[in-house]
């Protein structure tokens, strides 16, 4: 196994997965943030819209009062009280604490004003705080005139910059003006809720107020709506939206000092919060900053942020994908490695076998029948000898060189193997080399692959040179059937041939002759000249006998100086006699040996088939008897079993 390492492919997949996860995570997180921010923005717009609309309603109310003064022309207490009462300011106007009437009073007329108010039913009326200003604007009437509201009676709002600023702004523009943050007169607690007021100028009845100068000249007082911020907001929102805190600041700079709402100091400034939105709202020429922020509860309530889930899932998926790709990559590597190993082993195995086979002297062949291609080893070529058809392929090309006697069997074996009826192909046959010589080979083979219809596709096998084996076998067989001294057939082979000849003669009603030849006085030669000379004589006798008969006749040696001759086909006794005589005469010729001239004669007995016997045993016995008779009759002669012809030919065979 190669050393395990992370493939670059897996690293790329991991990086891409991480990148996709990051993008998806960021996209989802941004979307969620946008959703949260949108929820806040919506809340902010709702809040500003409500404030604007409510303030517009208050402005309209003030305009109504302004209209009242335009008609009545003076500060008549009952008219004002009745008008305010007729407005029936209910819950929709919650937050409105009081409607005040301030009368612009030059310093010199202050006492007159005080006197007037006292006469109208406020005996304790006085203007406060004391100041040396040229112009005063004391509150001369408050509606509803009850409870703590009355504490503001006589208060001079000109003495306080925020109030005075709004009043002057209203006077100059002729429009409603909103004051900055103020502490309402009746609020005694230091932590009292913030307040503000809306001011609208009252002009002299019938006097022009179309431009700045006219407005300044003809302003006689103001009608002012006084608010408690907390109550106003409560009437707008009730409990408010869960999770969203609304802050309102006076002006454009948010701080504890400018905060109008909420009152509580415990509320933190929105800038510290993750989700916040703010807007500047211009109301009656004055700017409020409305800011909303989400509490942790808000995030839980509105949060659809699934980015963490995406992050975790993405990371998990990235790791999973990486592992899978890693597995796939290494699996491929492993498979490749296994394939390489198998290929190597196969190659080694093939080489091993090739080596073994070549070492054993066998040639190897591999026949691809489908494409007709034959592959073979060098040894194969050596065994089959030089080939004049090198260019042609296929096993068939050797067919023409197979010995005709062996070809049918070889073809049959091959066909059986290709057809699948025989598991292996096995054939021993002779191959003709280009020099004309025959060489025995043993071919083996088997079909190793077939197509789906069973037709052979590939066949492999070996071939061995068995010429030597065949030669040895031949030699052994020869030795078993021949006399080693004379190389004549021995008794065994002769016996086979005798039986064969008799069968043939019987079947064809022919005659055959069996001759026993015994050398006369041979023993003395052995005794006198030794066995070597005797053997030479025997060899020479054998040669002369063979030369005296036809090829179809058989001469055999059956004992020391005893021979036997078979003539398988004769037409008459004379045929046998002539042959016997020829043999007797040939043997009788002198034997010229180095330093010696020897003479040997022979006695020949003849038995004729079927007259002298119809079986081998009878014929042999009778031929032996005839030979014995020839010995008895003086040797060196030919004797038929029946009759005594002595060197004389019988006339016919019966």
């Amino acid at each position: 196994m190669p050393k395990t390492k992370i493939p670059i492919f897996s690293i790329i997949i991991f990086i891409i997965s991480l990148a996709v996860t990051f993008l998806a995570w960021r996209h989802e997180r941004d979307n969620a943030r946008r959703d949260l921010q949108s929820a806040l923005d919506f809340q902010l717009q709702q809040t500003t819209n409500r404030i604007e609309q409510r303030m517009a309603a208050y402005e309209e109310m003030l305009r109504g009062i302004q209209g009242l003064f335009a008609v009545t022309g003076d500060f008549r207490r009952n008219d004002f009280a009745n008008y305010v009462e007729s407005l029936q300011l209910g819950a929709d106007f919650a937050g409105l604490q009081a409607i005040e009437l301030a009368r612009l009073t030059p310093r010199g007329q202050a006492d007159t004003v005080v006197e007037q108010v006292r006469r109208q039913g406020e005996p304790d009326y006085h203007i406060w705080p004391d100041s040396q200003r040229d112009a005063l604007a004391p509150i001369v009437q408050i509606e509803p005139a009850m409870g703590r509201n009355l504490q503001a009676l006589g208060f001079d709002p000109f003495s306080e910059p925020p109030r005075r600023l709004a009043m002057e702004q209203a006077r100059d523009s002729g429009l409603t003006a909103l004051s900055g943050k103020v502490k309402l007169v009746f609020e005694n607690e230091p932590s009292a809720p913030a307040g503000f007021l809306l001011a609208l100028p009252i002009f002299k009845t019938g006097a022009p107020h179309g431009n700045l100068a006219a407005r300044r000249a003809n302003t006689i007082g103001w009608v002012m709506a006084v608010f408690r911020m907390g109550d106003l907001m409560a009437s707008l929102y009730g409990e408010g939206t869960a999770g969203i805190v609304t802050e309102i600041f006076d002006g454009t700079n948010p701080s504890r000092e400018t905060r109008l709402f909420p009152v509580s100091d415990s509320a933190s400034l929105a800038s510290r919060h993750e989700f916040a939105a703010s807007e500047f709202v211009v109301i009656a020429g004055h700017t409020w900053m409305v800011r909303v922020y989400g509490t942790p509860g808000f995030k839980e309530q509105f949060d659809k942020d699934k980015s963490d889930l995406i992050l975790m899932a993405g990371l998990g998926l990235a790791i999973l994908l990486t592992l899978v790709s890693w597995q796939m990559a290494t699996a491929r590597e492993r498979a490749q490695h296994i394939a390489e190993r198998m290929t190597r082993e196969l190659k080694e195995s093939e080489e091993c076998w090739k080596f073994a086979l070549e070492g054993a002297g066998d040639g190897v062949w591999d026949w691809h029948l489908a494409i007709g291609e034959l592959r073979y080893s060098e040894r194969w070529k050596e065994i089959l000898g030089p080939d004049s058809e090198e260019h042609s392929t296929g096993l068939d090309r050797w067919t023409s060189r197979i010995h005709p006697d062996d070809l049918p069997a070889e073809r049959q074996n091959l066909r059986a193997c290709l057809a699948g009826t025989a598991p292996i192909y096995l054939s021993e046959h002779r191959i003709r080399w280009t020099d004309g010589s025959w060489h025995w080979v043993s071919a083996r083979g088997m079909v190793v692959s077939r197509d789906i219809h069973g037709a052979p596709l590939r066949m492999i096998g070996t071939i061995s040179d068995i010429s030597e084996r065949r030669s040895t076998e031949e030699q052994i067989r020869h030795m078993a059937q021949h006399d080693p001294l004379t190389n004549l057939p021995n008794r065994t082979l002769f016996s086979d041939r005798l039986h064969l000849a008799l069968s043939h003669a019987k079947r064809n009603h022919e005659h055959a002759a069996l001759m026993f030849v015994d050398l006369d006085n041979f023993k003395p030669i052995n005794d006198r000249y030794g066995h070597d000379v005797g053997d030479i004589v025997l060899k020479e006798v054998s040669l002369r006998m063979r030369q005296s008969v036809r090829d179809s006749d058989t001469v055999a040696r059956i004992g020391g100086d005893e021979f036997i001759i078979l003539l398988p086909s004769i037409t008459s006794h004379d045929d046998a006699f002539f042959v016997a005589e020829k043999v007797r005469l040939a043997i009788a010729q002198n034997y010229d040996l180095p330093g010696h001239r020897l003479e040997v004669s022979s006695s020949i007995g003849i038995a004729i088939f079927p007259e002298d016997g119809i079986d081998a045993l009878t014929l042999s016995k009778n031929a032996d008897d005839a030979m014995y008779q020839a010995k008895q009759s003086g040797r060196n002669r030919v004797q038929f079993f029946r009759g005594t012809v002595f060197s004389q030919a019988p006339s016919t065979v019966d």
Partner: protein
């Protein structure tokens, strides 16, 4: 209905301009409503003057109709125009959404500019967009020229836009350096603090063509033939030089001509 009545009942001039024939007169059988918004030289409640105020007066005079004028935030004006609760407003610009519910009668055109603090080191638009610390103040529901809108939308994505219902707090926060830029038109300079603002800021152009501004008419409250009659009135005001004269009251002659003779 909302907000202060500028002119509780403005009665039409007794005589009608000769250019308007009887058949061209708008239907004055009911009181009409017009919304003004506080916006630089268009209208200032401090002085109760402005271009829009002058145009309003001229419309009243020429149409002979009773038109109730109210001051209200711009966002609310658009809501009411859409709902049909308000008939007119002035100096409006169009977009696909507004075209659904509003008709326009153009009478001037101008470009939008980015007004940016000198110390913000902004030479071109991209500088502003690149610097995450810079915040832009805009009036809610305002739409500007194409590149200006693109900038607003991009900055809004990054929560870098501060909204207001009027210009005044934006100028104030710009001077306080709580915002560093705002989108203005030539008539946007506040009357009272113009000098200080010009000293503190520079102008960067948006490279957009001039955007026509006009009389906004509610499709819901006015039938098509009425819209056409009001358009004719505005066209006549342009043709006879009334519009140009109004602009000349507030701008140098060349700037006034560029805006009124677009």
């Amino acid at each position: 209905m909302a907000r202060p009545f500028l002119t509780l009942l403005i009665i039409a001039a007794l005589s009608l301009p000769s250019a308007v024939f009887a058949g061209d007169r708008p239907d004055c059988s009911r009181p009409l409503t017009l919304g003004l918004h506080e916006h630089g030289l268009l209208y200032s409640s401090d002085t109760d003057t402005g271009i829009d105020k002058d145009v309003t007066d001229e419309l009243i005079r020429r149409s002979g109709c009773k038109i109730t004028v109210s001051l209200m935030p711009r966002a609310r004006i658009w809501q009411l125009i859409e709902s049909g609760a308000l008939d007119f407003s002035l100096s409006g610009i169009s977009n696909a959404d507004r075209d659904r519910f509003a008709a326009f009668a153009w009478y001037f055109a101008n470009k939008y500019y980015l007004l940016v603090r000198k110390d913000a080191n902004v030479r071109q638009l991209a500088d502003f967009e690149r610097n995450d610390r810079l915040k832009l103040g805009v009036i809610r529901s305002f739409r500007y020229s194409e590149n200006a809108n693109i900038l607003v939308d991009k900055l809004n994505e990054g929560q870098r836009v501060v909204y207001a219902t009027g210009l005044a707090p934006l100028y104030e926060t710009l001077l306080d350096n709580h915002i560093q830029g705002m989108i203005i038109e030539p008539f946007d300079y506040p009357v009272l603090t113009e000098r200080k603002i010009r000293e503190t800021t520079v102008i960067v152009e948006f490279n957009d063509p001039s955007i026509p501004h006009g009389l906004i008419m509610s499709r819901k409250s006015l039938p098509p033939e009425e819209l056409e009659k009001w358009r004719n009135i505005v066209d006549n005001m342009r043709q006879d030089g009334t519009i140009l004269n109004i602009f000349k009251k507030y701008f140098e002659p060349d700037i006034a001509t560029t805006m009124a003779k677009y």
